[in-house]
């Protein structure tokens, strides 16, 4: 090929786009040697390919659409009593019931209290799901696990049924322990100076309410003590003088040996404790957004890592370090062999290195661009994704075959006009085929079918990269080569 033609080729916008994208992808993948001298990249691997464990937890709760003729407050209070669990108002038409009941059971309970069940969905509201996510993240952080992800899977109706926890570097047993572990919560009273005395442990707290704002704009978290706990609390408050001099005998709440809250008894509470024990208390955290944030944190602390809703293990998995790296090697081998096999088939068909070489290179560049994309969105590659990538390799080359054959049809060197017509026809075939793949993968990409979502997105991206970037560029390149 003449120098000039090559120059022209590089000026073509289709070829230019391909080259720019390739360079950007290599930058994004960023292959480099780490400080141990091993070759690493920016690619992130899922738990299939490195040591780690995941747990998928199912909420034992449901969100119920309802209507009632009773006043909402008393209806909810009564319902909470008969159902023996927290009932949270999600919005005007929905309640969250934090215990597992079937729809039939709930229907009869609702009817007894003067209400009606309109809809029933297993799961929790978005807010509760976010709270659970924060509690789990906090727990995992205190364990010092290096790389962990907590995701709630929220459906289109804003009801979350599952929460998924992924932790790198731990085995299944450790993962279960971390998620199941509760912190040690303690309430102490300041005696003299900085000295304090133990009053209660977290086990005497029977329930914790969601943060609320009182009429003067003060945020606070209500909690309830058991009868014995309430009595102990009163005795301690009187004994150490917190009831007569609250300001010098503050209450401190301690989680895992760290003070998370301290405040004096309110004057109301101090005087009422003189005469009788109180089970219901409110820890107030101040006004405004700061007060609200603190209240949300305090709620988590009061629960000492216990989740507001019971969960059941719905699914889990783990990969050991050695199997992970074994899979990784195998995938790499499969990848290279697949590329060679494809090249071999193409060579068998055309027996013309000038056609085969660009084809294989374009094919490989498609994969590089995809990998670049994967690095940018920080998608974690897992085994199905890699299988998908290899399938893209096989089908990507299909479409290059369509272009080549269409152009070669009826004699080699076509004039530019005929060439463009033929390329357009080849591209129609490709676009229709690509559209079917996109449509076929769309449901998967929109659903939360655990690991398959990523796989679908990657396959769709592969199709798009092929149709928009690499195939038009290939058309240009192959024309230059053939018309030589």
């Amino acid at each position: 090929m003449k120098q000039e033609r090559i120059k022209d080729l590089f000026k073509d916008w289709r070829v230019l786009t391909l080259i720019i994208l390739l360079v950007l992808s290599v930058v994004a993948i960023y292959p480099h040697f780490d400080n141990k001298g091993n070759l690493t990249t920016n690619l992130q691997y899922g738990l299939d390919l490195q040591q780690g464990a995941w747990l998928q937890l199912e909420f034992q709760a449901e969100v119920v659409g309802y209507s009632t003729t009773e006043p909402v407050n008393s209806f909810v209070t009564n319902l909470s009593k008969t159902l023996d669990t927290d009932v949270i108002v999600v919005d005007t038409n929905h309640l969250e019931i934090r215990k597992y009941y079937t729809q039939e059971q709930l229907e009869s309970y609702f009817e007894a209290e003067g209400g009606k069940v309109i809809s029933y969905q297993p799961g929790v509201s978005k807010d509760t799901a976010t709270l659970v996510k924060r509690i789990l993240e906090q727990k995992i952080n205190t364990m010092g696990t290096k790389d962990a992800k907590v995701n709630t899977l929220t459906g289109v109706n804003n009801v979350a049924r599952y929460v998924r926890v992924e932790m790198a570097g731990v085995d299944m047993n450790e993962a279960q322990q971390i998620v199941g572990k509760q912190g040690k919560f303690e309430i102490r009273i300041l005696t003299t100076g900085n000295e304090s005395e133990h009053v209660l442990y977290g086990d005497t707290i029977t329930s914790v309410q969601v943060p609320t704002k009182d009429t003067s704009g003060n945020w606070g978290v209500g909690f309830t003590l058991s009868d014995a706990g309430a009595a102990t609390f009163r005795d301690a408050a009187i004994k150490y003088g917190a009831t007569v001099d609250p300001d010098h005998h503050q209450l401190a709440m301690i989680l895992d040996n760290k003070t998370v809250y301290s405040a004096p008894l309110s004057s109301n509470l101090a005087s009422s404790l003189q005469s009788e024990p109180t089970r219901n208390m409110v820890a107030s955290t101040g006004t405004g957004t700061a007060g609200q944030t603190q209240a949300t944190n305090l709620e988590i602390h009061l629960r000492a890592g216990a989740l507001p809703v019971d969960v059941k293990i719905a699914g889990s998995g783990s990969t050991s370090a050695s199997l992970g790296s074994h899979y990784m090697t195998m995938c790499l081998i499969a990848f290279i062999l697949a590329l060679i096999a494809v090249a071999f088939v193409i060579f068998y068909r055309y027996r013309e290195p000038r056609i085969v070489l660009p084809m294989v290179l374009i094919n490989a560049s498609e994969i590089v661009i995809l990998l670049g994309f994967i690095s940018v969105i920080k998608f974690q590659m897992d085994l199905p994704t890699i299988a998908g990538l290899i399938a893209v390799l096989g089908t990507g080359i299909d479409q290059l075959v369509v272009i080549t054959d269409e152009i070669l049809h009826e004699g080699i060197v076509p004039s530019p006009n005929i060439y463009l017509k033929r390329l357009a026809r080849a591209l129609t075939i490709i676009v229709i085929a690509a559209a079917t793949v996109l449509i076929a993968m769309l449901p998967l990409a929109l659903m939360d079918l655990s690991t398959l979502k990523g796989f679908a997105i990657i396959t769709m991206m592969g199709v798009l990269v092929g149709v928009i970037v690499t195939r038009p560029a290939y058309g240009k390149i192959i024309m230059e080569i053939l018309s030589e």
Binding site: D48, E58, D171, M172, N173, Q176, K312, I313, A314, G315, G317, S318, S320, S322, L323, Y327, T329, M330, C331, A334, L337, A338, F344, V345, L383, P384, A387, G388, I390, A391, L393, G394, T395, D398, Q399, V401, V402, D405, E406, R425, T428, I429, I432, A435, T436, V437, L438, I439, A440, M441, L442, P443, L444, M447, D448, L449, S450, L452, F455, T459
Partner: protein
């Protein structure tokens, strides 16, 4: 046609016996799968897991073992994982609860049906002629049904991975049908020339994919990567049926349609 009928009968038979057209794997029915590389024999492994609902042990090359368990409650499962991490610290464990499996299964069915309908719509919009579009859709349908029947015959369970493979098949099996239909309907020339030209291109298209998938199957079989092995096996079966369906069924219908005077 005969093959399609046989395949439909197989699926119907399996549906009647187990309630689903393809036998579900643990992803959908619930259960635990353990992959481990160990020189222990199946009997030794059976002895280790005596107290647990062990379902099957399959052996691969290089001492790879793939062990499946039925569903069990949380406490039992925790003791199982403790046992696995002390006995086989290098194992890979995957577990799916029964209700979660059911949710996944429902979603997977919806995904396959939606994908199929979506594909049919694209095909009809693209060709805007009834019979050729039907031929493409029928051929894709036959691919899926025959592949699903074959999965039953050789014992590949329906899992998340194989669902993905079936979905990929919907997309990829229509590739060659679209090539064929476009060539025949939109190109000038003799029908038989167009058919043989399309076949020439189409068979290479399928062979490249076959080559990539075969490599994947062999490597994952040697390397004991169960998920990838199942995905590539399903794709391989599907592609082989696709050759039949495209170049026999679809060509047959298209030829009849053009000779009847439907083409240009």
């Amino acid at each position: 046609m005969v093959l399609l009928a046989i395949a439909l009968v197989v699926l119907a038979f399996v549906t009647v016996t187990i309630g689903m057209p393809v036998k579900p794997g643990i992803d959908f029915s619930g259960g635990t799968a353990v992959t481990v590389i160990t020189p222990d024999t199946s009997d030794q492994i059976r002895a280790v897991f005596a107290g647990y609902p062990l379902v099957s042990i399959s052996e691969g090359l290089n001492n790879g073992k793939f062990i499946t368990f039925g569903t069990m409650d949380d406490t039992k499962y925790q003791s199982l994982t403790a046992l696995i991490s002390s006995k086989y610290p290098d194992a890979r464990v995957d577990q799916v609860g029964e209700s979660f499996g059911k949710t996944l299964q429902d979603q997977a069915f919806i995904a396959i049906i939606l994908a199929f309908i979506g594909m049919a719509i694209v095909v009809f919009v693209a060709f805007r002629t009834f019979i050729p579009s039907c031929a493409v859709v029928l051929s894709a349908f036959a691919d899926m049904v025959m592949t699903a029947a074959m999965m039953n015959v050789i014992g590949i369970p329906l899992s998340l991975g194989t669902t993905a493979a079936l979905l990929m098949l919907i997309g990829y099996s229509v590739d060659s049908d679209i090539l064929l239909t476009t060539r025949v309907l939109k190109r000038q020339g003799k029908l038989n020339d167009k058919l043989s030209g399309a076949f020439h291109t189409g068979i290479i298209m399928t062979s490249t994919t076959l080559a990539a998938v075969t490599v994947l199957l062999v490597v994952s079989w040697i390397g004991q990567i169960q998920v990838v092995e199942e995905i590539s096996a399903v794709l391989l079966i599907g592609l082989i049926f696709d050759i039949l369906n495209t170049w026999l069924t679809n060509v047959g219908i298209l030829k009849w349609y053009v000779l009847k005077g439907g083409g240009k």
